[in-house]
Symmetry: C2
Subunit: 210 residues, 2 copies
């Protein structure tokens, strides 16, 4: 018996899966997993609810598919950090890439934040197998830079956490920031400038202790 051969997806399948993922990202990132309904996703995707289920096994399957894709995009900027480059440049470039992701992909950031806030119920393995190794690797790189005196004394792991905290904050807490700092007063330019200056100061080896 020919067991469940995975057939090549048709053009229609490709198109509709993409539409569903886009719609699901919109809805899940705004309402969280339980707050989102299949009807909302179906509406946003311009198709009927049973049609959704035809393409994905169910609500959870859609969410998982979304998280899977997200993980790759999310790790990419950190991957790019080059151990052979100039320490300060490399870290500041990473910070800039993260800021750009917050600006360009706030929904992805919020989807991730929602998942972690609730204890990462559907992401535990991803964090262990995807994020943790990369985190440890890059923390070690930074630790070397610090040991060589090419960066100010700093705990590499705490530094990475701080970078995530600040850059993702601009996407995740957008609703709050909009109230406190209206666009007319200061927008992304001010945020970019502040964040870069902050980390530059923090990481530059002090003249005094040289």
């Amino acid at each position: 018996m020919p067991e469940e051969v995975a057939r090549k997806p048709s053009r229609i399948q490709l198109r509709n899966r993409k539409r569903i993922m886009e719609a699901a990202l919109e809805v899940f990132s705004q309402h969280g997993y339980r707050g989102a309904t299949l009807d909302q996703i179906a509406d946003a995707a311009g198709m009927s609810k049973p049609n959704l289920i035809y393409y994905f096994d169910g609500k959870e399957a859609i969410h998982v598919a979304l998280l899977n894709r997200l993980m790759e995009d999310w790790l990419a900027p950190l991957h790019e950090m080059d151990p052979g480059g100039d320490p300060l440049d490399e870290i500041l470039a990473y910070v800039r890439r993260k800021m750009e992701m917050s600006r360009e992909f706030p929904r992805e950031s919020r989807l991730f934040a929602n998942e972690i806030l609730q204890g990462a119920p559907r992401m535990g393995p991803h964090l262990e197998r995807g994020l943790k190794p990369l985190f440890d690797e890059k923390a070690a790189v930074i630790a070397d830079w610090v040991a060589e005196g090419r960066l100010a004394q700093i705990d590499p792991r705490q530094l990475l956490l701080s970078i995530w905290a600040i850059t993702q904050h601009y996407a995740d807490f957008d609703a709050q920031i909009r109230v406190l700092i209206p666009d007319e007063v200061a927008g992304w330019d001010a945020a970019f400038a502040h964040v870069e200056a902050m980390f530059r100061t923090m990481l530059t080896v002090s003249e005094r202790s040289g």
Copy 2:
């Protein structure tokens, strides 16, 4: 006709309202507004669902009551920042208070994060009327300190955002941090030390530019 006189709440009422708030905080902070159910809250509070409704008008009323109480506790640390004190001391003390709140009241932090993440649907007025004035006031104080040369050049509003981002991150992203930095490796002590050192460096007026 005597219209809806607000009677003094009985002992039982006081006790049960408190139990409900505690239970609701637990459940809402973990699952978000829509993810939480009245049954869960009733269970956690050790009473029946209709009994909940006897004390609060409904699910939304409980949530709103929780957010109202939260707002006060949340603003307190910033209120304490004294314009007459030493700039660096005042800000670092504020940072420490915020870190303590993340450690002692992570559920409150997550409740707030959940609400903001979803666009602050039940908190808009609170942000405008409670948070914004205080934010503007304290930002002005910091701006003065900077103008007087008693703090390094920095955008006061972005500074406050960064403080919130980093300190609250330790509560909100706890699930992620637990995976990346196991307790045996580094706990709250390391976090406190890193955060304080970071802001100290960032805010200290450079010797060079004195």
